[in-house]
Symmetry: C2
Subunit: 180 residues, 2 copies
Protein backbone atom coordinates (compact mmCIF):
# COMPACT_ATOMS: atom_id res chain seq x y z
CA UNK A 1 0.00 0.00 0.00
CA UNK A 2 1.37 3.41 -0.88
CA UNK A 3 0.66 5.77 1.96
CA UNK A 4 2.90 8.71 2.67
CA UNK A 5 1.03 9.72 5.82
CA UNK A 6 2.59 8.63 9.10
CA UNK A 7 0.49 6.49 11.41
CA UNK A 8 -0.08 7.19 15.10
CA UNK A 9 -1.66 5.01 17.78
CA UNK A 10 -3.44 6.97 20.51
CA UNK A 11 -4.43 5.34 23.80
CA UNK A 12 -7.83 5.93 25.43
CA UNK A 13 -7.68 5.73 29.24
CA UNK A 14 -5.52 8.46 30.71
CA UNK A 15 -4.86 9.98 27.27
CA UNK A 16 -8.06 10.94 25.43
CA UNK A 17 -10.28 9.70 28.28
CA UNK A 18 -9.93 11.26 31.73
CA UNK A 19 -10.37 7.95 33.54
CA UNK A 20 -8.90 9.20 36.84
CA UNK A 21 -11.56 11.92 37.03
CA UNK A 22 -14.20 9.25 36.71
CA UNK A 23 -12.61 7.13 39.46
CA UNK A 24 -12.81 10.17 41.74
CA UNK A 25 -16.39 10.95 40.69
CA UNK A 26 -17.60 7.39 41.16
CA UNK A 27 -15.92 7.09 44.56
CA UNK A 28 -17.40 10.36 45.77
CA UNK A 29 -20.83 9.23 44.62
CA UNK A 30 -20.46 5.88 46.37
CA UNK A 31 -18.71 6.87 49.59
CA UNK A 32 -19.29 10.62 49.89
CA UNK A 33 -15.58 11.43 50.07
CA UNK A 34 -13.73 13.36 47.35
CA UNK A 35 -10.26 11.87 46.90
CA UNK A 36 -7.74 14.43 45.54
CA UNK A 37 -5.98 13.83 42.24
CA UNK A 38 -2.69 13.67 44.16
CA UNK A 39 -3.76 10.35 45.67
CA UNK A 40 -2.96 8.76 42.30
CA UNK A 41 0.61 10.05 42.17
CA UNK A 42 3.65 7.80 42.41
CA UNK A 43 1.83 4.49 42.61
CA UNK A 44 -0.02 2.01 40.36
CA UNK A 45 -3.37 3.37 39.23
CA UNK A 46 -5.26 0.59 41.02
CA UNK A 47 -3.98 1.91 44.37
CA UNK A 48 -5.32 5.44 43.88
CA UNK A 49 -8.60 4.86 45.73
CA UNK A 50 -9.22 3.13 49.07
CA UNK A 51 -11.16 -0.14 49.43
CA UNK A 52 -10.00 -1.62 46.12
CA UNK A 53 -12.52 0.70 44.45
CA UNK A 54 -10.52 1.14 41.22
CA UNK A 55 -10.47 -2.61 40.59
CA UNK A 56 -14.22 -2.77 41.22
CA UNK A 57 -15.12 0.16 38.97
CA UNK A 58 -13.17 -1.10 35.94
CA UNK A 59 -15.35 -4.23 35.85
CA UNK A 60 -18.60 -2.35 36.51
CA UNK A 61 -20.93 -1.78 33.52
CA UNK A 62 -21.24 1.91 32.75
CA UNK A 63 -17.88 2.98 34.14
CA UNK A 64 -15.99 3.34 30.86
CA UNK A 65 -19.03 4.72 29.05
CA UNK A 66 -19.23 7.61 31.55
CA UNK A 67 -15.58 8.73 31.50
CA UNK A 68 -15.20 12.42 30.56
CA UNK A 69 -13.03 13.41 27.60
CA UNK A 70 -9.49 14.50 28.54
CA UNK A 71 -9.06 18.28 28.38
CA UNK A 72 -8.07 19.40 24.89
CA UNK A 73 -8.09 15.86 23.46
CA UNK A 74 -10.94 16.21 21.00
CA UNK A 75 -9.59 19.32 19.30
CA UNK A 76 -6.03 17.97 19.31
CA UNK A 77 -6.92 14.56 17.82
CA UNK A 78 -8.95 16.32 15.13
CA UNK A 79 -5.94 18.52 14.38
CA UNK A 80 -3.53 15.55 14.31
CA UNK A 81 -5.83 13.59 12.01
CA UNK A 82 -5.25 16.21 9.31
CA UNK A 83 -1.66 15.08 8.89
CA UNK A 84 -1.50 11.59 10.47
CA UNK A 85 -3.51 8.40 10.06
CA UNK A 86 -4.87 8.22 13.60
CA UNK A 87 -5.64 4.87 15.25
CA UNK A 88 -7.27 4.69 18.65
CA UNK A 89 -5.70 1.73 20.46
CA UNK A 90 -7.09 0.66 23.82
CA UNK A 91 -6.13 -2.32 25.98
CA UNK A 92 -9.81 -3.08 26.60
CA UNK A 93 -9.67 -6.87 26.48
CA UNK A 94 -8.87 -7.24 30.19
CA UNK A 95 -12.33 -5.80 30.91
CA UNK A 96 -14.53 -7.26 28.18
CA UNK A 97 -17.68 -5.49 29.43
CA UNK A 98 -15.90 -2.31 28.31
CA UNK A 99 -15.58 -3.34 24.64
CA UNK A 100 -18.95 -2.07 23.43
CA UNK A 101 -18.87 0.86 25.87
CA UNK A 102 -15.58 2.04 24.43
CA UNK A 103 -16.92 1.72 20.91
CA UNK A 104 -19.98 3.80 21.86
CA UNK A 105 -17.84 6.33 23.75
CA UNK A 106 -15.68 6.89 20.66
CA UNK A 107 -18.73 7.22 18.42
CA UNK A 108 -20.10 9.91 20.74
CA UNK A 109 -16.97 11.91 21.50
CA UNK A 110 -14.75 11.22 18.46
CA UNK A 111 -17.26 10.65 15.63
CA UNK A 112 -14.61 11.65 13.06
CA UNK A 113 -12.61 8.49 13.88
CA UNK A 114 -13.75 5.69 11.56
CA UNK A 115 -14.50 2.21 12.94
CA UNK A 116 -11.66 1.12 10.67
CA UNK A 117 -9.23 3.02 12.92
CA UNK A 118 -10.30 1.58 16.28
CA UNK A 119 -8.30 -1.25 17.89
CA UNK A 120 -9.38 -2.89 21.12
CA UNK A 121 -6.64 -5.22 22.25
CA UNK A 122 -4.69 -6.66 25.14
CA UNK A 123 -0.94 -6.39 24.89
CA UNK A 124 0.03 -3.56 22.49
CA UNK A 125 3.41 -4.96 21.45
CA UNK A 126 2.26 -5.87 17.93
CA UNK A 127 0.94 -2.40 17.07
CA UNK A 128 3.03 -1.32 14.09
CA UNK A 129 2.32 2.41 13.83
CA UNK A 130 5.06 5.03 13.43
CA UNK A 131 4.12 6.76 16.71
CA UNK A 132 2.29 5.90 19.89
CA UNK A 133 0.91 8.14 22.65
CA UNK A 134 0.25 6.21 25.84
CA UNK A 135 0.47 6.74 29.59
CA UNK A 136 1.50 3.18 30.49
CA UNK A 137 5.22 2.45 30.35
CA UNK A 138 4.61 -1.23 29.59
CA UNK A 139 3.01 -0.19 26.29
CA UNK A 140 5.77 2.28 25.44
CA UNK A 141 8.64 -0.08 26.34
CA UNK A 142 7.65 -2.73 23.77
CA UNK A 143 6.80 -0.25 21.01
CA UNK A 144 9.06 -0.29 17.93
CA UNK A 145 8.30 3.22 16.64
CA UNK A 146 8.55 6.59 18.37
CA UNK A 147 6.90 6.61 21.78
CA UNK A 148 5.33 9.58 23.58
CA UNK A 149 4.54 9.21 27.28
CA UNK A 150 1.42 11.10 28.32
CA UNK A 151 1.86 12.26 31.91
CA UNK A 152 -0.10 10.42 34.58
CA UNK A 153 0.25 9.91 38.32
CA UNK A 154 1.59 6.40 37.83
CA UNK A 155 4.39 7.45 35.45
CA UNK A 156 5.86 10.29 37.54
CA UNK A 157 9.67 10.13 37.64
CA UNK A 158 10.01 7.80 34.66
CA UNK A 159 12.26 9.44 32.10
CA UNK A 160 13.05 6.82 29.46
CA UNK A 161 10.40 8.12 27.03
CA UNK A 162 9.64 11.56 25.61
CA UNK A 163 7.12 13.10 28.02
CA UNK A 164 4.08 15.18 27.08
CA UNK A 165 2.10 16.79 29.88
CA UNK A 166 -1.04 17.69 27.98
CA UNK A 167 -2.53 17.82 24.50
CA UNK A 168 -0.96 21.21 23.69
CA UNK A 169 2.45 19.63 24.19
CA UNK A 170 1.48 16.69 21.97
CA UNK A 171 0.60 19.09 19.15
CA UNK A 172 3.87 21.00 19.60
CA UNK A 173 5.88 17.76 19.59
CA UNK A 174 4.24 16.43 16.45
CA UNK A 175 4.60 19.77 14.62
CA UNK A 176 8.31 19.73 15.40
CA UNK A 177 8.50 16.15 14.09
CA UNK A 178 6.77 17.10 10.87
CA UNK A 179 9.27 19.89 10.33
CA UNK A 180 12.37 17.87 11.23
Amino acid sequence: MTNSRKTIAIDMDGVIADTISNFITWYEREVGVRIPLQAFEGKPEAEGLPDNAVSRYVVTPGFFRSVPVMEGAKEAVLEISKTFDVYIVSAAMEFPQSLFEKYEWLREHFPFISWKNIILCGDKSIIGTDYIIDDHVKNLDTFKGKALMFSAGHNIGIDRHARVNNWKEVISFLKAEANS
Copy 2:
Protein backbone atom coordinates in the same frame (compact mmCIF):
# COMPACT_ATOMS: atom_id res chain seq x y z
CA MET B 1 11.63 -6.39 24.86
CA THR B 2 13.74 -9.42 24.10
CA ASN B 3 11.58 -12.04 22.48
CA SER B 4 13.05 -14.57 20.10
CA ARG B 5 9.68 -16.13 19.28
CA LYS B 6 8.09 -15.05 16.02
CA THR B 7 4.65 -13.48 16.18
CA ILE B 8 1.67 -14.53 14.08
CA ALA B 9 -1.72 -12.85 13.62
CA ILE B 10 -4.57 -15.28 12.97
CA ASP B 11 -7.92 -14.08 11.64
CA MET B 12 -11.24 -15.35 13.03
CA ASP B 13 -14.00 -15.40 10.38
CA GLY B 14 -13.23 -17.84 7.59
CA VAL B 15 -10.00 -18.97 9.29
CA ILE B 16 -10.57 -20.31 12.82
CA ALA B 17 -14.33 -19.68 12.66
CA ASP B 18 -16.39 -21.40 9.97
CA THR B 19 -18.57 -18.37 9.34
CA ILE B 20 -19.85 -19.59 5.96
CA SER B 21 -21.27 -22.72 7.60
CA ASN B 22 -23.20 -20.51 9.99
CA PHE B 23 -24.55 -18.38 7.12
CA ILE B 24 -25.86 -21.57 5.52
CA THR B 25 -27.29 -22.86 8.82
CA TRP B 26 -29.02 -19.58 9.66
CA TYR B 27 -30.48 -19.26 6.16
CA GLU B 28 -31.80 -22.82 6.22
CA ARG B 29 -33.40 -22.20 9.61
CA GLU B 30 -34.99 -18.96 8.41
CA VAL B 31 -36.08 -19.89 4.90
CA GLY B 32 -36.04 -23.69 4.85
CA VAL B 33 -33.63 -23.90 1.92
CA ARG B 34 -30.09 -25.29 2.24
CA ILE B 35 -27.74 -23.20 0.07
CA PRO B 36 -24.67 -25.20 -1.08
CA LEU B 37 -21.17 -24.06 -0.14
CA GLN B 38 -20.49 -23.53 -3.85
CA ALA B 39 -22.86 -20.54 -3.81
CA PHE B 40 -20.10 -18.58 -2.05
CA GLU B 41 -17.47 -19.24 -4.69
CA GLY B 42 -16.05 -16.55 -6.95
CA LYS B 43 -17.94 -13.62 -5.48
CA PRO B 44 -17.88 -11.31 -2.45
CA GLU B 45 -19.00 -13.12 0.70
CA ALA B 46 -22.02 -10.83 1.11
CA GLU B 47 -23.45 -12.17 -2.16
CA GLY B 48 -23.37 -15.82 -1.11
CA LEU B 49 -26.96 -15.94 0.13
CA PRO B 50 -30.14 -14.59 -1.51
CA ASP B 51 -32.21 -11.74 -0.05
CA ASN B 52 -29.24 -9.84 1.39
CA ALA B 53 -29.26 -12.42 4.20
CA VAL B 54 -25.50 -12.27 4.84
CA SER B 55 -25.63 -8.52 5.50
CA ARG B 56 -28.56 -9.04 7.88
CA TYR B 57 -26.98 -11.90 9.83
CA VAL B 58 -23.68 -10.11 10.50
CA VAL B 59 -25.54 -7.39 12.41
CA THR B 60 -27.85 -9.83 14.23
CA PRO B 61 -27.05 -10.55 17.91
CA GLY B 62 -26.07 -14.18 18.36
CA PHE B 63 -24.74 -14.78 14.87
CA PHE B 64 -21.01 -14.56 15.63
CA ARG B 65 -21.41 -16.29 19.00
CA SER B 66 -22.92 -19.35 17.26
CA VAL B 67 -20.32 -19.85 14.50
CA PRO B 68 -18.75 -23.34 14.57
CA VAL B 69 -15.00 -23.73 14.88
CA MET B 70 -13.21 -24.28 11.54
CA GLU B 71 -12.18 -27.91 11.06
CA GLY B 72 -8.76 -28.59 12.55
CA ALA B 73 -8.31 -25.00 13.79
CA LYS B 74 -8.29 -25.64 17.52
CA GLU B 75 -5.63 -28.35 17.42
CA ALA B 76 -3.55 -26.41 14.87
CA VAL B 77 -3.58 -23.12 16.79
CA LEU B 78 -2.61 -24.97 19.95
CA GLU B 79 0.27 -26.57 18.05
CA ILE B 80 1.39 -23.26 16.54
CA SER B 81 1.26 -21.53 19.94
CA LYS B 82 4.07 -23.82 21.11
CA THR B 83 6.55 -22.08 18.82
CA PHE B 84 4.91 -18.74 17.91
CA ASP B 85 3.36 -15.92 19.90
CA VAL B 86 -0.18 -16.22 18.54
CA TYR B 87 -2.46 -13.19 18.27
CA ILE B 88 -6.08 -13.53 17.22
CA VAL B 89 -6.89 -10.49 15.08
CA SER B 90 -10.45 -9.92 13.93
CA ALA B 91 -11.94 -7.00 12.01
CA ALA B 92 -14.90 -6.91 14.38
CA MET B 93 -15.36 -3.16 14.63
CA GLU B 94 -17.65 -2.94 11.59
CA PHE B 95 -20.19 -4.98 13.57
CA PRO B 96 -19.84 -3.70 17.14
CA GLN B 97 -22.52 -6.06 18.50
CA SER B 98 -20.01 -8.80 17.69
CA LEU B 99 -17.25 -7.47 19.98
CA PHE B 100 -18.33 -9.19 23.19
CA GLU B 101 -19.61 -12.24 21.28
CA LYS B 102 -16.20 -12.74 19.71
CA TYR B 103 -14.50 -12.39 23.08
CA GLU B 104 -16.86 -15.02 24.56
CA TRP B 105 -16.45 -17.29 21.54
CA LEU B 106 -12.66 -17.24 21.95
CA ARG B 107 -12.92 -17.91 25.68
CA GLU B 108 -15.09 -20.94 24.95
CA HIS B 109 -13.28 -22.45 21.97
CA PHE B 110 -9.70 -21.17 22.41
CA PRO B 111 -9.34 -20.84 26.18
CA PHE B 112 -5.56 -21.19 25.87
CA ILE B 113 -5.38 -17.80 24.08
CA SER B 114 -4.86 -15.08 26.69
CA TRP B 115 -6.96 -11.89 26.58
CA LYS B 116 -3.61 -10.15 26.07
CA ASN B 117 -3.38 -11.79 22.64
CA ILE B 118 -6.80 -10.80 21.29
CA ILE B 119 -7.16 -7.81 18.94
CA LEU B 120 -10.54 -6.62 17.71
CA CYS B 121 -9.98 -3.96 15.09
CA GLY B 122 -11.09 -2.43 11.83
CA ASP B 123 -8.41 -2.04 9.20
CA LYS B 124 -5.54 -4.49 9.88
CA SER B 125 -2.80 -2.49 8.16
CA ILE B 126 -1.09 -1.51 11.43
CA ILE B 127 -0.74 -5.07 12.73
CA GLY B 128 3.00 -5.56 13.10
CA THR B 129 3.36 -9.33 13.52
CA ASP B 130 5.88 -11.42 11.56
CA TYR B 131 3.13 -13.53 9.94
CA ILE B 132 -0.57 -13.22 9.22
CA ILE B 133 -3.13 -15.86 8.25
CA ASP B 134 -6.25 -14.31 6.74
CA ASP B 135 -8.79 -15.08 4.03
CA HIS B 136 -9.38 -11.48 2.94
CA VAL B 137 -6.99 -10.13 0.34
CA LYS B 138 -7.43 -6.55 1.56
CA ASN B 139 -5.86 -7.59 4.88
CA LEU B 140 -3.03 -9.49 3.21
CA ASP B 141 -2.20 -6.77 0.67
CA THR B 142 -1.39 -4.14 3.31
CA PHE B 143 0.52 -6.52 5.59
CA LYS B 144 4.25 -5.87 5.99
CA GLY B 145 5.30 -9.35 7.15
CA LYS B 146 4.75 -12.74 5.55
CA ALA B 147 1.15 -13.29 4.50
CA LEU B 148 -0.70 -16.62 4.23
CA MET B 149 -4.02 -16.66 2.37
CA PHE B 150 -6.50 -19.12 3.86
CA SER B 151 -8.68 -20.44 1.05
CA ALA B 152 -12.25 -19.16 0.86
CA GLY B 153 -14.88 -18.89 -1.87
CA HIS B 154 -14.22 -15.16 -2.26
CA ASN B 155 -10.46 -15.57 -2.84
CA ILE B 156 -10.59 -18.28 -5.51
CA GLY B 157 -8.21 -17.49 -8.38
CA ILE B 158 -6.17 -14.92 -6.50
CA ASP B 159 -2.54 -15.95 -6.57
CA ARG B 160 -0.50 -13.06 -5.19
CA HIS B 161 -0.20 -14.59 -1.70
CA ALA B 162 0.93 -18.01 -0.46
CA ARG B 163 -2.25 -20.11 -0.31
CA VAL B 164 -3.17 -22.58 2.41
CA ASN B 165 -6.27 -24.70 1.89
CA ASN B 166 -6.76 -25.97 5.41
CA TRP B 167 -5.13 -26.09 8.83
CA LYS B 168 -2.95 -29.09 7.96
CA GLU B 169 -1.37 -27.02 5.22
CA VAL B 170 -0.82 -24.12 7.64
CA ILE B 171 1.07 -26.42 9.99
CA SER B 172 3.19 -27.78 7.13
CA PHE B 173 3.97 -24.27 5.87
CA LEU B 174 5.01 -23.00 9.29
CA LYS B 175 7.14 -26.06 10.00
CA ALA B 176 8.98 -25.49 6.73
CA GLU B 177 9.48 -21.83 7.72
CA ALA B 178 10.90 -22.80 11.10
CA ASN B 179 13.41 -25.10 9.38
CA SER B 180 14.39 -22.66 6.62
